[in-house]
Amino acid sequence: MSAWLSQVRLALRAAASGLRASLATSAVAAVTIAVTLVLVGAFGLLVVNMERLLDRFGEDLRVSAFLVEGLDADAQEALRARATEAPGVLSVELVTEEQALDRFRRSRVSRAALLEGLEDNPLPASLEIALVPERRSREGLALLIQALEAIPGIAELGYGHEWVEGYARALSLVRGLATLLGAVLIVASLLIVTGTIRLAVYARREEIQILELVGAGYAFVVAPFLIEGLVQGMAGGTLALGVLFGLYQVLVPTLRGSIEVLLGDVQPAFFDLAGSLWIVLGGAALGMLGSAAALIRGPDR
């Protein structure tokens, strides 16, 4: 066994005995980290799922350009060709008055009965315009709208623009809140971890003093405490992941109604493997940082 490995083994052994000696304070630190990560993680889940909805919206982002009434097929086709020239257009589909009525009748939401009594078809012809992927943004949409508005023969434009903007604003609010809350919680849990490691250092000050008397260097003295912080953090992260998953399993079915309001028909999803790993790693980082902060002044001599 190399000397380096045996030093690692010694540090692990010292950390294990340290954790055993201060089980209660270590548990407090781990739970603090877990609480932080549960709250941050819950906001994270909300943001991730809301972002998925926005992405989904982007995918089927379409602009409907309703044509003025009374155009013949040639004129409609000419407008279709012109719309194709507009910036960022991927494809343009012409939907005639008859096709529009047909679609409406077949659509799930239609109340076909409403139209039964009518002599004339009240639905206008329209152009269904899809954007190239890189233009599926607020700016891309604005440019397209501007170009389409300049085309005579287009009476009205329909798009989910306002709704998307509102949703995006809500999302950035949630994100901002999550960041703020996360920062506060992270600082608070760092302080608590720092406190518990300080306590551990204090409880073992005589041991540290003895190690230094026989020539232990700074790394030898400090490594077990960093490992203890790391273990507390990973335990907290794993606990948080478990709690989040449990809450998710329980809350998603119970809150289906509210979730539909928030996410529409996008299915809510839990963190994937990478996201879950980030939670545990986040805990590990919190634990390490907390103990590093406790050790910055160096063990008391």
């Binding site: 030093q7 000696a21 003895i210 230094e212 020539g215």
Partner: protein, 240 residues
């Protein structure tokens, strides 16, 4: 004899050299004042003087626990006052220290307490185990190696502390009132052990205010008074 000696005049085999060392913890009062002395390889020297004379301060300066206010301290060729952060641990690995209150790790066995010295320097585990065993045998505690310190008598605990100080074969041994907490019979036992260390070539400093001890062994005696060296007496030639 070497009081006030200059570096150029120093004996080549001096392991510890102090040149005009002073230490003040508070302005206006001196714990040590203008102390110069040398300790050679294999030399055994008592450091005596009443309580508060500066014995502990002198030892703490020698293993880098305190910095001198004035003067130079050379231990094993290193200027202790100018060591870098990593230099002090490196120096301490070559010095053994023993205290009145033993300073054992309560949650580690006798064997593990002695092994700490070797762990710190990264001695391979297998080699460390046999050296610890040999050392415990030398202090007569091999049968106690799996016990915890609290199960041991004071004399046994101090033998463990001495084993810990010696297991890495230090060139200098500093013992501050090593028998201060022990009964007279145990005192002799411990002192014989320490005297044996010097006969193997280690430079040994023993601080004590016990005059009977000093006269029994007839070794060199540096007597401190109020932080000054009041006397530096060579060994009596009557020692066994």
């Amino acid at each position: 004899m070497s009081q006030g000696g200059e570096p150029a005049a120093a004996r080549p085999d001096a392991l510890v050299r102090l040149f005009h060392v002073s230490k003040s913890y508070q302005a206006g009062s001196w714990a040590l004042r203008d102390v110069s002395l040398e300790l050679r390889k294999g030399e055994f020297c008592f450091l005596t003087g009443p309580s508060g004379a500066g014995k502990t301060t002198l030892m703490r300066l020698m293993f880098g626990a305190e910095q001198p206010s004035e003067g130079q301290i050379l231990v094993l060729g290193r200027n202790v006052g100018r060591l870098s952060r990593g230099g002090i641990p490196a120096l301490r690995r070559r010095i053994g220290v023993v205290f009145q209150d033993f300073k054992l790790l309560p949650r580690r066995t006798v064997e593990e307490n002695v092994a700490v010295t070797l762990e710190v320097v990264g001695t391979p585990a297998r080699q460390a185990r046999s050296r610890v065993f040999a050392m415990l045998k030398r202090v007569g505690l091999q049968h106690r190696r799996h016990h915890y310190p609290r199960a041991l008598s004071g004399g046994e605990q101090q033998r463990v502390a001495i084993a810990r100080a010696l297991v890495n074969e230090p060139e200098v041994l500093l013992a501050d009132e090593p028998t201060g907490n022990l009964d007279p019979e145990l005192t002799v036992e411990i002192m014989d052990l320490i005297a044996d260390v010097a006969s193997r070539g280690t430079a040994v400093f023993v601080a004590t205010h016990d005059h009977s001890l000093v006269s029994r062994y007839g070794r060199r005696v540096v007597r401190l008074e109020g932080g000054h060296i009041a006397e530096d007496a060579p060994p009596r030639r009557t020692r066994p």
